[in-house]
Each structure stands twice: as C-alpha cells, then as structure tokens.
Symmetry: C2
Subunit: 202 residues, 2 copies
C-alpha cells in the first residue's frame, strides 16, 4: 500500500522510500527542527539537490512520513466500516490493527506520536489523528450501548486509556526483540477487554 504512494523515480542508490527512512530516523534522533536538509544529505552521502530531486522540501518528507502512520491507522478503520456484528468485536479488531500498524511502521508511528502541531503539516496530521480517535470513541460508545462494554467509564476516557496503552508500545517495542507483534496484540486485548484479574468463576 505504501509502495503505491512512494514510487521509485529512477535515481540510482536511493529511491524515495530509502531517503524517507533515513530522514525519519534522523527526525526521531535529533528532532525535526534540528535536522536540516544538509544533515540529511551528509547522512545519505547525497547532494542536497539529489534529495530535492525526490522531495520538494523537508516539510514534504515529514508529510509523507506522517501519512505512512495515518494511512495505516485509517486503513484499519476502513476495513471495519462495512463489517457487521457486535461493536465490541469491531473495536477488538481495530485495537489489534492499531498494534499491527505500530509494530509494522514503528518509526512512522513514533514520529506521529511526537508531533505537537508546530507547523501546518503537523496540525493537519493531528487533525487526522483526532478524527481517528473520534471514530474509535464512537465505536466504544456503540459497544457500550449494545451492552457489551461497561457503562461506568466515559467513552472518551476509555479511548484515551486504550491508546495510551497501545501507543506506549512504541517506546520499547523492537522488531528484533523477544516480543512477537501478534502476541503483543493479544496481550493488549486481554488486558483491555478481560482485565488482569482472575475472577472467582474461572
């Protein structure tokens, strides 16, 4: 899917995606403001004009990087849009999908989580993120109204706590680490939906 958006423009050595990956790693390490196109050129061993062959500006690099994360998250919602069945099951699949997007696109999601709204690109990304959160909150509300989700917590707080848990995974998850991404999604769902306590009935 992301391969469709970022096409190879025929520059030998680095294609658009490879440059984007190096840029995102630098943005995460040094911060977006502190990473100049000159720094990126040095890291890539390319001239600045070679980078500008692929991207019109540093802002465009950030925009494409944030879109990688947001397209992934929005795609998870789109997959559920026409599904029927209990809202709690759709919510579970959205949570599982969000963990998958985070582990699959870790640097892009990490960058998204650091955005504070300092530029138009950042504000636009935050606006898309808020729309995603509102859609999840609507799903939480639907699951509550159908009687499958507890009704004593504000759905907006539920969404914030759920994504607090999911997003925190970006701080410690490493693809080469001992935690399997699918197992991690199972763990999140187990805590969020069924809780940690072993109930007396079991």
């Amino acid at each position: 899917m992301s391969e469709q958006a970022l096409t190879r423009r025929g520059r030998p050595g680095y294609d658009q995606r490879a440059i984007l990956e190096v840029a995102v790693a630098a943005f995460i390490e040094f911060g977006y403001d502190a990473t100049s196109m000159g720094v990126l050129a040095t890291r890539l061993a390319l001239s600045k004009s070679a980078i500008y062959h692929h991207f019109t500006s540093k802002d465009e690099l950030l925009e494409l990087a944030l879109a990688e994360a947001l397209d992934g998250l929005e795609g998870v919602l789109t997959e559920e849009k026409d599904e029927v069945g209990p809202a709690i099951d759709r919510l579970a699949r959205v949570l599982r999908g969000a963990v998958r997007v985070l582990t699959d696109r870790l640097p892009y999601v990490t960058l998204l989580l650091r955005v504070r709204g300092n530029t138009d690109v950042e504000r636009s990304a935050l606006s898309r993120r808020r729309a995603f959160d509102r859609a999840v909150t609507a799903l939480v509300t639907e699951a509550r109204d159908e009687g499958s989700l507890r009704g004593d917590i504000d759905p907006r707080v539920v969404t914030r706590l759920l994504f607090g848990m999911v997003n925190s995974i970006a701080e410690w998850y490493r693809p080469e680490g001992p935690e399997d991404a699918a197992q991690l999604a199972n763990d999140v769902l187990a805590v969020a939906l069924d809780g940690l306590r072993v109930s007396a009935q079991e």
Copy 2:
C-alpha cells in the same frame, strides 16, 4: 513531603519552590537543553545571580524536579512495603497511587517521562525509574503466583502496558478539566483489573 526537601531560603518574591515551578514549566515548553539560565532569569524577572542564590546550576533544578516525581512514585511503593494481604490488592493500590502522584505532581512527572538519559542527572533518574518498574513487575509476578492475576502474559509486558496507560494520562489530564483524579484512578483500575467487557455472568 516535598516541602521538607525544598525550604524557603528567605529571598523575597520567589522561594526555591516557586523558581523550580517556573523552571519546570520552561523545560517542558522549550526543552531542557534550549532553556538557559538567562531565559529563566527573564521569565522570573530575577537576575541570574538571584537564581544561583537558590540553585547551584540548571542541572540541580532538573535534579530536584525529577526527584519530586521519583520521590512520589517511590513513596507509593514504600507505603505498600510492609502491607500484608493479596499481592493483587497491593498492586491495585500502587496503580492508584501512581495515578495520584501523576495528577498531584503533573509537571514533574511530565518532565520525568521526557527524560532520555543525556546527562548524569537524567541517567540517574532513569535508573530510579527502572528500579520502580522492577518493583512493580515483582508485585505483578507475586499476584500471578498467588493465582489472582492471569498467567498468560509476561509480567514485564504487564507492567509496561499498565504504566503505558497510566503515563499517557500526563498527555491530556488537566487539573481544571472535567476528569476527577480519583475517578480517573478508578477508571484505570477498572480497565486494568476487570477489563472493559461486560461478561456473560453479569
């Protein structure tokens, strides 16, 4: 408790704590590196030497700020150290206490959560934070071994997910906002221990 550590040294206008509060707000807004003692002096309408009357360095300001958060969290563990009773109940009280420390000392905890280990002061704070996490993981393991906590999730992952949820509250909680801190602690415990799902038995 924090009042014991930070005593008023008799300077009119600002005492140590008031200077620390302004410094922490600046560290959060601009970042620690980008906040010079000159910037702080301007914000406080004090001379730099007036600040140095209270603090030997910017590093000491950071150290005292991080200690506010860490003393609070460690205090929660100390309260439980000599308690008996099921480990799951002690874990629940530690979680509740951690939410209380976060809401009571919001700027200090926010600063702690941003620390990346760039200086000795930061590395020392991270080391204390890791010791706290290890103690919580030991409590999770104890609750699992007593049979009150589900055994199918690695206790280290449990601790990370729990504190991912708790720490994320710092991103949106505002003391003047609609969410009551005690209610928020109840919400966290409800999600973490009993889960969101309304089970068939209820």
